[in-house]
Symmetry: C2
Subunit: 525 residues, 2 copies
């Protein structure tokens, strides 16, 4: 019922957005009389993405939204009945119909936290049948959100704090809410905004956008605007005909740039004038529809200077092809000479925005010392995370009926850590990260200043640590993004290297290590 | 209003799932008095994905669903008003509120068609402001659907026609309907089914699934099933206690395999019994939770043989780690000796299913001559398309007010083909593909058997072709998948090579070539 009242919940995950084996296992549990056995699962990843040393946790708010609305409708249960054996006990379907998440407890890393391999992002406990059913939707909601937030954080580290980074990836996403997820969590990871309007409406992400080549090519120059008149920015004085004013400025600009007044494309100029009439306070030119030097730039300057005469300042130019860095240098130079020539000093610092298949390497180039690029739009590499398009999170049973459980497969990388656990992040006296400790839920928490015996994961010997502080998770809401930046500031230089990962240490407590040993020995009997 | 009545439409794209610049351009068009100018856009890609020679068109039904429901609600328009200039004319928002897709015409390649660079997947015509607004959602709906269908078709070509291919990618998708899209269009591209229940419910994709490691590890062996009794498959004869029966078979199986009866994990066996009680006609074992040879396989055989005695035949085993090909060979060998030993001949051919990060290379290995693998589940490489995670479709204005439009950027790869066009696929006398011809909409269509002068794209000279047949698009519904297989059968061996692309030829008609020349010349004046 809840789902029907919340269009956002409907638009996101639904209970049947799950793998069929969750349902067949549910029937198995039910038939074995174990539907209500108390169980706990952990959701974690095994390796930091992109060959780096960290990840950012994200997706929790989508999980909470999904769980609040979790309810199988009649149509859902009917569909399940159609794919399960025809002689399945009807009481099983009644059980499904009555499920909701009221008996489920989720403990989680706050969104924007640093996350490391093996340390749970979510710990989900509740009735075995139900928490099993939740596996796939929770994985689906957490994995990509965390991946894309981490991707954004990497791109932010490469770009440095000054550049404006914009997500333009919606059209390259895996369908509608792939795009919504990417826009939301790239913002969390450190981007400044997104082109995705729905992310603005539903999630409050700042949205940005101006014009595309189609707008420019749609004008031939013969169009007559129904109202070409524009009032001065201050509101004082008579309205002027912007078209006429732009044509006058074009002559002066072409003379300054050494171009013929016929060179700039009249359709492009008409498009710029139309855009300026609609957005006099936010005029931006897209320069590369025909020729940047011979057309886009003089047309932009003519419109920007005509607006400038009326007291408006253009807000930017955009380039979408060619050598972006080099063109930005040239354009900045021409902005400077033009600003001086016509005594419009604000023109010097009009932001230059670039886009066009920008990846980590190209971003590093665009962000180099002396670059005149101010705004960088990233689409495909933001949303598809091409270096590693999946985080590969898993959701593993760690306890059932109060008893620890462990998967002991012959592939040691796929072994799990048993038992209901608590994770603590230990900090040094300067606030830097020491390591994460996993211990059994029943163990007393570590104390600042007290020595602790731990087992680094995979090590054969224990060691002692003495944390100066423990990391206190913040309550996570709109502050998640600020929290992510705070989280990232704790990374050591070694962990900020994006190419040669320095593994962050995750360690086990004495008791947890002993439990692992016990279960390993028991299974090898 | 339509959207409110169709939960599926709500779950998919909404009008605000668009880039903000579509909205700012809409205001620009409106302010320029051009909202109603008749316009046409083409949606196409510039390069075949994955370094191959073809793509499959897909996503059209999602576009149609989106267009049917297209309507900005009051809340949508209010949000747009909040991000546009505060002095925007209220009449613009009234215009937006009244928009629907009744004036929009879409011509499209049927889903499952082969698609080639530059040949439009969609041709969208209607009022300029509106068809501009549709750009991002249509790109979002077509690009990934076509990419994933193409990916599935490649994987099918590698696997050959016999292997069952299953999509398991939901948890690796970019959020909820990334997964839904992947499951739907991997089926279109040639997969046999998906684990994604929602794809079954909403799209009719066959769904598959049995059990995971968590089910196995949730049992310790001390659990007592509330009802361990099972009736024979034929319904005749007394019910028997399956647990007891399995323990008896375990001794015989262990003796045959040379194992101690203590070797197989009792919890794993209890899980298999629980699953068999729920699914006696569809029992499948997941073999690698503890040890395939020492535990998973003997436990599976004990349960399968106990079921066999009652007239039930197990439907499969699954492996999720280790060397899948080699283990499948060993398991098939043991199935054969066990089938002979206990005179259960059906056991020989129990399907062996495998999963675990299978990519194109591993698939080729699993599909090699003599492989005993029957069913292959692919998750990450199916859904993320790691070789090329985005198709990079574009949506370009080709005509406005009846006048052709062309983007003439200095980057020749980004130039567009002007004018409202028609595309024809020419076939040889054996039904094989010759090439695609793009011509202006006003030109008479090519005729089978008649010579035609064409300009291969990028060529400096024209040439003559004489098609034996023209490709007739089928009406596309549930037949799209069959159509995709038919489409793929037309590919020449050169175009089926997945690594060294042989470029399929796309050619322009004389008139279109002449128009390109004219516009190029005009812009360089």
């Amino acid at each position: 019922m809840a789902a029907k009242q919340d269009p956002e919940a409907l638009a996101a995950a639904r209970p049947l957005l799950t793998d069929l084996y969750q349902v067949t296992m549910a029937l198995g549990y039910w038939r074995a009389g174990r539907a209500h056995d108390p169980a706990e699962f952990e959701l974690f990843f095994r390796q930091c993405p992109f060959g780096g040393s960290f990840a950012l946790a994200a997706g929790l708010r989508d999980c909470v939204r999904f769980l609040r609305a979790f309810r199988l409708r009649d149509a859902d249960v009917q569909f399940l009945a159609s794919v399960l054996p025809p002689d399945t006990d009807p009481a099983f379907f009644q059980h499904l119909r009555a499920l909701d998440s009221s008996g489920v407890t989720v403990r989680a890393l706050p969104e924007g936290s640093l996350a490391f391999p093996g340390v749970p992002l979510l710990q989900v406990s509740g009735p075995l049948l139900l928490v099993q059913l939740l596996e796939t939707p929770l994985l689906c909601l957490v994995s990509y959100a965390s991946l894309v937030a981490t991707n954004a954080a990497r791109l932010r580290l490469i770009a440095g704090p000054e550049k404006r980074l914009l997500d333009l990836g919606l059209r390259r996403a895996q369908g509608p809410d792939g795009g919504l997820t990417a826009s939301t969590y790239s913002y969390l990871g450190g981007f400044d905004g997104s082109s995705n309007v729905l992310a603005g409406q539903l999630r409050g992400v700042p949205v940005v956008g101006t014009l595309a080549h189609s707008f420019v090519t749609s004008f031939s120059g013969t169009e007559v605007p129904p109202d070409p008149m524009l009032a001065p920015a201050a509101g004082q004085g008579p309205r002027v005909d912007l078209t006429t004013c732009v044509e006058a400025w074009l002559e002066r600009v072409c003379a300054h740039l050494g171009l013929g007044v016929q060179d700039p494309h009249p359709g492009e100029r008409a498009a710029f004038v139309a855009y300026a009439l609609a957005f006099p306070r936010a005029f931006q030119g897209l320069l590369d529809t025909y020729s940047v030097r011979r057309s886009g730039l003089p047309n932009f300057l003519a419109v920007a200077l005509a607006l400038g005469e009326l007291g408006y300042q253009a807000v930017g130019v955009r380039l979408d092809s060619g050598d972006l860095l080099q063109q930005a240098q040239e354009i900045r130079g021409l902005f400077r000479t033009t600003a001086a020539q016509f005594q419009m000093p604000w023109l010097e610092s009009v932001p230059i925005a670039v886009s066009n298949n920008i990846d980590e390497e190209e971003l590093a180039r665009l962000a180099q010392e002396g670059s005149e690029v101010n705004v960088i739009g990233i689409g495909t590499s933001m949303v598809t995370c091409p270096r590693q398009p999946s985080l590969g999170c898993v959701y593993k049973l760690v306890s059932v009926g109060g008893q620890p459980r462990m998967k002991l497969t012959e592939d040691p990388d796929k072994q799990t850590l048993p038992g209901s656990k608590a994770a603590f992040r230990l900090l040094g006296s300067d606030g830097s990260l020491l390591l994460d400790v996993l211990q059994l839920a029943e163990e007393p928490p570590p104390q600042a200043g007290q020595e602790l015996r731990i087992w680094p994961r995979g090590a054969r010997e224990s060691c002692l640590v003495r944390p100066a502080q423990l990391c206190k998770p913040l309550p996570s809401l709109a502050e998640s993004r600020a929290f992510a930046q705070l989280s990232l500031s704790r990374l050591s230089p070694a962990h900020r290297r994006l190419e040669q990962p320095a593994l962050y240490q995750v360690a086990l407590s004495e008791k947890l290590q002993a439990l692992v040993h016990r279960l390993r020995a028991g299974a090898s009997l």
